[in-house]
């Protein structure tokens, strides 16, 4: 009895330690990585797995895109390189979108951890590299071949020696060879830290392996997740959400079933694949779908093989949410980031009081390039001008929450952070002329949706620049619920008047400014039911106009 009580305490301490080990792994990557999405947004992942491929702990990082896609990737590595063939000092790598985390820019690295000569665990991590060759980042490719270098599962290091041939091929195929190679080294190094910490823990507690500990963690998490699900009314809930797509509207259709055995989400009925790079590999669909569930149900339960196993996702092959090789997938996040909204729409039917309305959801990152040749740009116009490529990470408003307004200009579901305008202006000739709240963009309601923002850009060198658009919710704004109104649609235009498309590369002519207005979140409840002091406050702060206050909220001065 006493023995087992102490044992239980030790197990919990070791569980905490494993979580701390993967956090340490992730922090190392954040600080050493080069890709802006990684360091500014925590677009990375780190985790520890049992030798059979079951994930035991994962760091909580900025991106839901790796929630269980990395876990699935480790199984793919084990299928390619069986545990028996793994040796100390080995490191394995891939950027296969269908075996990794959904596009070529994500490299996943797996390292076997040995303790006293036995394989005791696998450490895995994923990072988004700045460039992977091909036509450059964006949805403009038609096949994965256009999108860059494709590295199948192979050795990055063989018993301690780096695979120089692979590194040479990577360097020769990407636009930023030193940074990408640096990221590969950083991935290998952070797994190495994990291996060392795990060995120290095993020594401290006199354990041979973590099999029993891991099995216990997984089982307890699975049971806790089932208990959280059991608190929700069983049943099947359907939802449909339209997004702008590239060449045509994309319909996302879901049937979510809550049962004793877990939650099943079936995307049958969803639109087919696109000819452009907005297709989503299944692992990425799994990641954002289960993230959507976990935001509402079991938010405090750590991610591992147990808690993830009871949320199951089905998407028919050939649909845009299970796009097969060799389709283009680079900008999979545009559609993927809508999936939590699809899930929320289902769960709101079960418990409207627990679920937010739709938000802008898809990021509104503004990618600007200049000083280089492009169709519709006269080469003479860019001669002698500064060559640049910048990304400003930007967002719209989130949906209203029951009992609370939505968050204005805030990333969700992504956890991205913006980059300082002053920093962007220091490394490029781009000038920002405006970045402020967009009045009246939050969906009216008893609880108002979050506001989007208005941004204005100019190439300060009196030359044209190219916008790489990956914007959604221009034709399909965020919807409100329970009588709340929708958020304002997004808008992209040239200051002198011409509207631009939400997808693809387009020229901002010399002497013109680009105006980007990001979408607002949907409202909840009848606007007339909004507390008068909140309407007053929004008016005083200029978040709503007087005319909107009168027309939508029934305000009389």
């Amino acid at each position: 009895m006493k023995r087992s009580a102490l044992h239980a305490i030790q197990r919990q301490v070791m569980w905490n330690r494993l979580i701390s080990v993967v956090e340490e792994q992730a922090q190392t990557l954040v600080r050493t990585a080069f890709g802006p999405p990684t360091r500014e947004a925590g677009d990375l992942s780190a985790g520890v797995f049992l030798p059979n491929g079951d994930m035991v702990a994962q760091a909580v990082t900025g991106t839901p895109g790796h929630v269980n896609s990395m876990a699935e990737a480790v199984r793919q590595f084990l299928a390619a390189i069986p545990a028996a063939a793994m040796r100390a000092g080995d490191v394995y790598v891939t950027n296969d979108p269908w075996k990794g985390t959904g596009h070529l820019n994500d490299f996943t690295v797996v390292t076997p951890a040995f303790h006293r000569k036995r394989l005791v665990a696998l450490f895995a991590c994923t990072v988004h590299v700045v460039d992977i060759g091909g036509i450059g980042f964006g949805p403009d490719g038609h096949q994965v071949y256009h999108e860059g270098l494709y590295v199948p599962i192979m050795r990055l290091a063989d018993r301690g020696s780096m695979n120089e041939s692979l590194l040479a091929i990577v360097r020769a195929n990407v636009r930023e060879p030193i940074q990408v190679e640096g990221d590969l080294y950083a991935l290998a190094a952070c797994n190495e830290i994990g291996c060392r910490r795990l060995s120290a823990m095993l020594d401290e507690y006199g354990l041979r392996d973590i099999d029993e500990l891991g099995a216990d963690i997984i089982e307890r998490s699975r049971r806790a997740m089932l208990a959280a699900i059991a608190a929700w009314p069983a049943g099947t809930y359907r939802n449909t959400l339209d997004t702008d797509g590239y060449e045509r509207t994309v319909r996302l259709e879901a049937r979510l079933t809550i049962a004793k055995s877990g939650i099943d989400i079936d995307f049958t009925g969803t639109s087919g694949v696109s000819a452009y790079g907005i297709n989503v590999p299944k692992s990425y669909t799994d990641a954002y779908t289960s993230f959507g569930v976990r935001c509402i149900i079991g938010a405090n339960i750590p991610n591992n093989a147990g808690s993830l196993s009871v949320v199951r996702v089905h998407a028919p092959e050939g649909s845009i949410l299970n796009a097969p090789f060799p389709l283009a997938v680079a900008a999979r996040s545009i559609i993927g980031q809508m999936l939590p909204d699809v899930v929320f729409g289902c769960l709101a039917q079960a418990r409207p009081e627990s679920v937010p309305a739709e938000g802008a959801s898809s990021l509104w990152n503004v990618r600007l390039a200049g000083g280089q040749a492009f169709k519709a740009i006269d080469a003479a116009e860019v001669a002698g001008k500064t060559r640049f490529n910048i990304v400003s990470f930007n967002t719209g408003g989130t949906g209203a929450r029951p009992g609370k307004d939505g968050l204005s200009v805030t990333s969700f579901p992504s956890g991205i952070r913006n980059v300082s305008m002053e920093i962007l202006e220091s490394i490029s000739p781009v000038l920002f002329w405006r970045k402020e709240y967009r009045t009246d963009s939050g969906g009216a309601g008893r609880w108002r949706g979050g506001l989007g923002q208005v941004m204005e850009f100019e190439n300060g060198e009196d030359a044209p620049m190219v916008l790489g658009a990956t914007f959604d919710r221009i034709d399909n704004p965020a919807r409100g619920t329970s009588g709340g109104l929708g958020g304002a649609p997004g808008r992209v235009r040239i200051a002198s008047g011409r509207e631009l498309s939400g997808k693809g590369r387009q020229v901002v002519p010399r002497g013109e400014r680009l105006i980007v207005e990001t979408p607002g979140g949907g409202g909840i409840g009848e606007p007339h039911a909004r507390a008068r002091e909140l309407v007053r406050r929004d008016l005083d702060d200029g978040l709503i106009s007087e005319s909107a206050a009168c027309a939508l909220y029934g305000w009389t001065a």
Binding site: A5, L6, A8, I9, Q12, N16, R17, S20, E23, E24, Q27, T28, R31, F34, R39, E40, A41, T61, E176, I178, G182, Y185, A189, I193, A200, R220, C295, I296, A299, N300, I301, F393, N394, R401, K404, L407, S408, V409, T410, S411, F412, G415, I416, R417, N418, V419, S420, E422, I423, E425, L431, W433, R434, K435, E436, Y437, G460, D540, D541, G542
Partner: protein
Amino acid sequence: MSAPQRTRTSASGWRLAVDVGGTFTDLVLQRGEARFTAKVLTTPRAPEEAVLAGIEQILDASGAAADSLESMIFGTTLATNALIERKGAVTALITTEGFRDVVEIGLENRFSQYDVFLDKPAPLVPRRLRYGVPERIDAAGRVRLALDEDAVRALVPLLRRAGVQSVAVALLHSYVDPRHEQRIREILLDAWPELWITLSCEVCPEVREYERTSTACANAYVQPIMSGYLRRLQGRLAQRGVRCPLFLMTSGGAITTLERGAREPVRLVESGPAGGAVLAREVAAQCGVTRALSFDMGGTTAKVCFIDDFAPAESRSFEFGRMYRFLKGSGLPIRIPVIEMVEIGAGGGSIARLDELQRVQVGPDSAGAEPGPACYGRGGSAATVTDADAVLGRLDPDRFAGGSMALDVAAAREALARELGAALAVPAETAALAVSEIVEENMANAARVHAMELGKTVEDYTLIAFGGAAPLHAARLAQKLGIRHVIVPSGAAVGSALGFLWAPVAFHAVRSFYQRLDRIDVAKVNELVQAMSRDATGIVRGGAPRARLEEQRSAFMRYVGQGHEITVALPARALRAADAPALRRDFETEYARLYGRAIPHLQVEVLSWSLVVRTRSKRSLPAKRAKLRAAPRAPRRQALYDPRAQRFRDAAVFDRAELRAGTRFAGPALVAEDQTTTVVGAGCTAEVDTLGYLHLRR
């Protein structure tokens, strides 16, 4: 504590440190070896009342006269509290037109990935008081749009009508060219001479608009009240006959003059924890410990800070008013020089409970002082870390809280059994052990992750433990971290105020000036750094006219394309063009030390230049090992739980004041003093040095 000394020498007079905390105002009066301490309740409405009362008390006890004070050093939570409780002045913000929401939009992120119901902290200045004016300077300092001076003048009636008392001005790229901000100040003061004005280019001349604007707003917000408070305090002290110079403790672990503190009150936040780190630094210097980890554990939180070569780790940013107390990113940023430490919700009062996975969770919430832990017997029902300590036999019932409070072990046992034991089907001792182990593991994990962030190997460090709860948990924490040596200094109950007495007079300046190392403009850099050096020296001279000064220069550098800078030391002289390769080498050495590997062929850039001027610290009285002597007969014995053996064992209880230098004994044992108990576990030895510090070794 020594007997009062009656002789008065003005040349080497008394130094007084006062730490105005949220609950208590701590005072330390010291001259040479003589030291007096006092603790009085803080008077939040007029904090100077408690300060005066405390001074009366301590002067009485010491027999020192008010006019024999040589200097006084104040630390106060007033600025921090005004920010957290939103009790500052009505403040307006003037920005570049089109950017008034930068301070509210912030980083556009969420600080908690899975919490869709989170709230973001509201900015100090509401949108209705944020005004844009047409003007624009670019990153290279070129004026793209001239300042519209009429638009500035037109703001004056609006500001008056809104009852504004203080204004922050934060324009884009003002760290490159401050002229537009300065001109706005001239125009406003012309029309309204008594208006408080903070310029972002003065309080934070650094790149990154959100952090700079937020810092300027915080300064403007607290300036009127801090200035009023400091003026009142000075007046009251003068009335009382105190004529010595007054100094203020800053967040960077240095002291500054009253005048400077009133100008940049934002630098006065978190001075208490900084004082603790200064104390630890001094103990490290006395004991000759070049790798020290300061461990300060009180009722609510624990803080750890790395101190290498007797210098606490420094940082340039701090967050206040976190929505979720210990969650990074949930507060508002201030970019000022601070002592780098991690704070987690782990203190004696931290509450233990089970989560939905039946795991024991400790903190971050605390039972506080009222009603406090169950063992206080004041109606508290939560099971806390202190209750666990009580059940495990780590507290001395006779001297608990200096004997002022009866320790109710039965209530502690009951709370632990009820809150944890029942659901886990374990006895109260096991539940207590779980609480203790988890809180220690949480602290160890925080220290490990922090060590990784700073590129340090925690096993190489010596733990310096102070604060009421630290000596109880220090030995076990050290063991978890692989640390073999723990020092528990004496007098740690008023650790922060004690630290004030050791702090140097210093000023820390940072300026952003972007330079690629391969085409560095040495002349311009030298011009900038020389000006910073002149300013900082002038400020320090104002507080220490005759002291010997030292200066350290550094640069914040990174590879082109990275997002985080690292600090690289610079020579304390003008740079030469030929220095560039050496700077790159120093950067790469530091980078490799932090991250394991430098990256060849990549260009290096400098974002900001930093410089600190400080008075040289006095030589410390060294702590030495004394001739070993056997432990005295323990006055009492007590049952202490041994985690390894899983049973209570008979342990000696020593009175700390009775232990003479050189005393050595083995655990299990307890060393009791009024404010705390040091736990010497089985397998551990304790030794007392010539300064009365306890050294625990395994």
